[in-house]
Symmetry: C2
Subunit: 375 residues, 2 copies
């Protein structure tokens, strides 16, 4: 999940001037095996005319699969395949927007993102940047977007990131990794079809599921929490336990992990991530480690902060025979290590959520160095 | 909860022609103690001009309370106090719409409902009927509303009905008790301020909370359930257990029951109520018993259908020293009893959800008569 500050924040969830966040929810959702096939009917009333296409941004792993034949293309619609090998970038958003603008005289009728967190975040950002001037990196931050984006639909094909329900689109910009957080960011429509997650490789399934699990541990143990976020976070946590430690059929497991991701994403409304995400951002920034695995690499060394969560995480690792790479930080230069530490420490809301207002009396560079050296 | 059929239904949650329901969620929600005071800021951008008022429909129990001074009146806004002593009626909706049309030349900028399920359902219906022709009773059913209503805000002051999040407005019409179920029905904005539930009398608190609890038991034990509704239903169920059997502070209890109601309402997306609601509707129709207490009166006699749920319900009754009236059906005429039975048996989706497709081989008039005679 993103380094976000989705609450008008103090540690009581309240400030006098702004009050509590007025949280935007995805206004339409379909859930069910095979619900992907309803996409055509859903898009039809949104098509302005034959010249205003629907643009489908699809993870390139589906390029040679059966899914493509089921994409409801009409008129001059276009599929753009996108690699999710790397974290999504502001430049990539700008390039996609340019490409669409060059090819079409009309604004698209809709943007449909099909894939994991990377594709979903890219799709949200492209929809916004088609109607807002300039480059995507100018909007990294909170509530900088001024105009509603193009109608956008999110269809997750892997579960755990919560990107399908969040009000952010996390992007690597020229200077930082930060989300475009705004009330216009959430999808207008989400289709939750658990069957789409069938082909996910086991490692990726695990790491992305752990994004949800770790986020729940961090927010449930944080100081920002209120009953709204707690109820969603607890449900996501319970579902993760069932999926990764229980005895479910594959179908139940797909269904429940999709719902865990959904509730986990909702729980961010009035909560925040913590130590794991702060460190994972440093790791990601310096080594380009992807978000899901980055969280796992960090989390197992955080017993001091999340003892019960780390114990459960280790059981999940064992049960699914996941082995994480080691020695990643061994050959870092002194400068790289310093950058990693300072990027992590710069995530103030995360530290404050985890350790309270006086967090910087409780953690410092040497402490983080010792943790990173174990990774 | 309503006799509703919010799913494009078969017992697998799927029909070939329509697919799964594309569920409309409340697009904006604020949660927090004292968040009621954000109402003014929330309404401001929705005010079209000084002639287009905001109409506040408020439960008359607040008429002499502190809350009224906090209602953000501007221009020619109007407060209308409404009694929630009786179940809301289609005639009442028509009368409110006439009153607003007579007094104002402009369509209101917004309708704000403040109260329990009765006030929330009335407010949803009034907002819809201001833009749709004819009488409210013409729209009792599914997807009969053609135009979006006036912008409408829901602010619950008692927890359990789920009316704050549902896509229905349950009304007593000239011929039947049935909801206006449509994609335009849900509120555009909900404010969840647990402090507003502070003054609720204990009995009412219990009965309304049980509306949520009983609904969860029915939907979790039904045949229509899928993972989406199950996850919301389980969370609502767990929260009810904490509230009614746990050891919470009053503040925690208010917070958690408000979230239980919210999740319970969401769980209806792809589920359905069951035997208790079917019988309770019959009771309500003939005796005018209010919905919350009606469910309780019925539910304790349903061990054969919901053994674990009824046992837990009895523990909750004992813990809170609730005593229900008895002998209600003792002096019913034969005709009244027959009506009660036939109204209950007419709730086909509820029976199908509870007992499966061959439900009418499993239950009949004599069976229901024996249950009603105990009430």
């Amino acid at each position: 999940m993103d380094v976000k500050k989705n609450i008008a924040v103090s540690n009581t969830n309240r400030t006098k001037s702004i009050g509590y966040k007025n949280f935007p929810m995805v206004p339409r959702v379909v859930f069910g095996k095979g619900s992907f096939d309803q996409l055509g009917d859903i898009l039809l009333p949104k098509r302005r005319n034959a010249e205003a296409p629907v643009i489908f941004l699809i993870d390139e792993v589906f390029e040679r699969g059966d899914l493509i034949a089921r994409v409801p293309l009409m008129f001059n619609d276009k599929i753009i395949f996108v690699s999710a090998e790397e974290e999504p970038k502001t430049q990539q958003v700008d390039a996609l927007v340019d490409l669409i603008r060059e090819e079409y005289s009309e604004l698209p009728s809709g943007i449909v993102g099909i894939g994991g967190g990377t594709l979903l975040d890219l799709s949200k950002a492209v929809a916004l940047m088609l109607t807002n001037k300039g480059s995507a990196h100018q909007y990294q931050g909170w509530d900088l977007i001024e105009k509603p984006g193009v109608y956008h639909v999110g269809i997750p094909t892997i579960s755990g990131t919560g990107a399908e329900v969040s009000r952010t689109a996390v992007l690597l910009g020229p200077n930082r990794k930060l989300g475009i957080n705004s009330d216009f960011t959430p999808f207008d429509q989400v289709i939750l079809d658990p069957d789409l997650t069938k082909g996910v490789p086991k490692d990726q399934w695990f790491y992305t599921g752990m994004d949800c699990f770790i986020h729940c541990v961090e927010s449930l143990n944080g100081t920002y929490l209120n009953a709204f976020s707690q109820s969603y976070g607890e449900k996501a946590f319970d579902l993760c336990k069932e999926v990764f430690l229980g005895d479910l059929t594959e179908e139940e497991s797909r269904d429940k992990l999709m719902m865990a991701s959904w509730h986990g994403g909702m729980s961010i409304a009035y909560s925040q991530v913590g130590v794991a995400h702060a460190l994972s951002y440093g790791l990601s920034y310096v080594l380009g480690v992807k978000h899901g695995i980055g969280n796992c690499l960090v989390f197992r060394h955080l017993e001091e902060y999340y003892p019960a969560g780390v114990e459960m995480f280790n059981s999940m690792m064992n049960k699914h025979r996941i082995s994480l790479p080691t020695g990643l930080c061994k050959s870092l230069s002194e400068t790289e290590m310093d950058t990693m530490i300072s990027v992590s420490l710069s995530m103030k809301p995360l530290w404050e959520n985890a350790l309270g207002k006086d967090w910087n009396s409780k953690v410092g560079p040497e402490h983080l160095r010792r943790i990173f050296q174990q990774i």
